[in-house]
């Protein structure tokens, strides 16, 4: 069981970004609840950033990325808020963003400077959306201000498809 996901950008993707402050990061813990249901499949989970007036930025999408003929992408649209905000404009697998689905438990996600790119100052929302095959869907929103104050964090807890989500912002 993989409990940690690092977002790694390739050299090509990195080269296209403005040089960000070296230390900036968003460190997340995302809890996928253990559900007592007859038929359980690990959820598709999307993590992305929104800011008024600029395109949404996907930080991670966990889905069945290793099926033959990329068939797992058929259900990406069920992560529907993310699909509309950002997903439908990406191609898959998405470099540095695609990850495997995760088992119930708490998962660490560290989004580094390269993945965040140039963060202009302002009000942001960090969104986490989970959609489960033959199950439900839930989205959590964590508003934050960039640049963050030292030690700035945000948290939210889901009620059905997501557990606690915590974020620590560093610049």
């Amino acid at each position: 069981m993989q409990l940690s996901t690092r977002i790694v950008m390739t050299g090509a993707a990195f080269a296209g970004l403005a040089a960000p402050a070296a230390a900036q990061s968003i460190d997340l813990t995302v809890t996928i609840p253990r559900l007592n249901v007859a038929e359980y499949h690990r959820p598709y989970v999307a993590i992305w950033l929104e800011k008024a007036g600029v395109p949404a930025k996907t930080l991670a999408i966990w889905y069945d990325h290793d099926m033959k003929a990329n068939e797992g992408t058929k259900w990406l649209r069920d992560v529907r808020q993310w699909w509309r905000a950002s997903g439908r404009g990406l191609s898959f697998p998405a470099d540095g963003i695609t990850g495997a689905t995760k088992a119930p438990g708490t998962h660490k996600v560290s989004v580094g400077a390269a993945a965040l790119g140039a963060m202009t100052p302002g009000n942001y929302t960090l969104l986490i959306e989970s959609a489960r095959e033959v199950g439900g869907r839930e989205v959590l929103k964590l508003p934050f201000v960039w640049p963050p104050k030292p030690g700035q964090t945000a948290a939210a807890t889901g009620t059905t498809e997501l557990g606690a989500v915590n974020a620590a912002f560093k610049r």
Binding site: R77, R80, R84, R88
Partner: protein, 272 residues
């Protein structure tokens, strides 16, 4: 386009239901309107019925149904079948972007009096046959023509605009808001045009699906503004049937007094 119109005139009576008979609604219902993946399929149900979206009256005849791919090329219908109450067909989506599935056509309606008795021209009559069908000595000859369009939109991946361009013939929708980007609680704006020009002041009716399980129709009635536009704020997620009607005197059939224009579409509104 002349040959296209002549061809369109020769279509079945069932197609005319959308404009000719208020009691019945013509619709097509895709299995999905927003899809992801490298390729995909949709299955479309097509019927003429009272309640939306239940097949309980007549199938929609598929002879005139066409599908346009995001690059503007035509895509063949697959696995078409027509049953007692509905037709069904599949469309394979091989390109990323927005597809349009259209059932467009027209017809001629006519009546005359012979020895004081009113008689009607048969449905599906062609322009060329009219003179033969109306006997010498007939009086009170009344002819009108109709042009109707039923279209639905399906998007694989990100929405595109190529198939949204109007043909310039009859009553058409020009989306301001993309028809596959509709979300409950948000406003969507659509422009209607007649022969490519803004259709001001025409009646638009929007009816939510699921009629069988409620007492009130719950329709929204609107009129287009001077630019032919209406704005609809979707009260709930779900399927909606949108219908527009208009009439004018821009006839193509000799002797016709009126041209009746109809447009219908099925729109899917997603939850936020």
């Amino acid at each position: 386009m002349k040959t296209g119109l002549l061809h369109a005139i020769a279509i079945s009576a069932a197609l005319l239901g959308a404009t000719a008979a208020q009691a019945h609604r013509q619709w097509m219902l895709p299995s999905s309107t927003v899809l992801s993946g490298q390729s995909g399929w949709v299955t479309v149900d097509a019927a003429v019925s009272n309640d939306l979206f239940y097949f309980e009256h007549q199938p929609l005849r598929l002879g005139n149904v066409k599908t346009w791919a995001p690059d503007g090329s035509e895509v063949a219908l697959q696995n078409p079948a027509t049953g007692r109450y509905r037709s069904t067909f599949d469309v394979e989506l091989k390109q990323q972007g927005t597809y349009k599935i259209v059932n467009a056509g027209g017809g001629i309606f006519g009546s005359y009096k012979e020895n004081g008795t009113e008689k009607r021209l048969p449905r599906g009559v062609s322009a060329a046959d009219i003179e033969k069908l109306i006997p010498a000595g007939a009086t009170d000859v009344k002819l009108s023509e109709s042009l109707s369009r039923n279209e639905v939109f399906v998007t694989l991946g990100a929405p595109t605009d190529t198939v949204l361009k109007p043909s310039g013939k009859g009553l058409e929708l020009v989306p301001v808001t993309h028809p596959n980007d509709l979300v409950s609680g948000e406003a969507a704006t659509f422009q209607f045009v007649i022969d490519g020009k803004p259709a001001a002041g025409i009646e638009i009716e929007v009816v939510p699906g699921g009629i069988r399980y409620r007492d009130q129709l719950g329709q929204m009635d609107m009129k287009t503004d001077a630019e032919g536009k209406v704005t609809i704020t979707w009260p709930n997620p779900g399927l909606y049937w949108m219908s527009a009607e208009a009439s004018d005197k821009n006839v193509s059939v000799k002797g016709a007094e009126q041209r009746r224009l109809g447009y219908v579409s099925t729109l899917e509104v997603l939850a936020p």
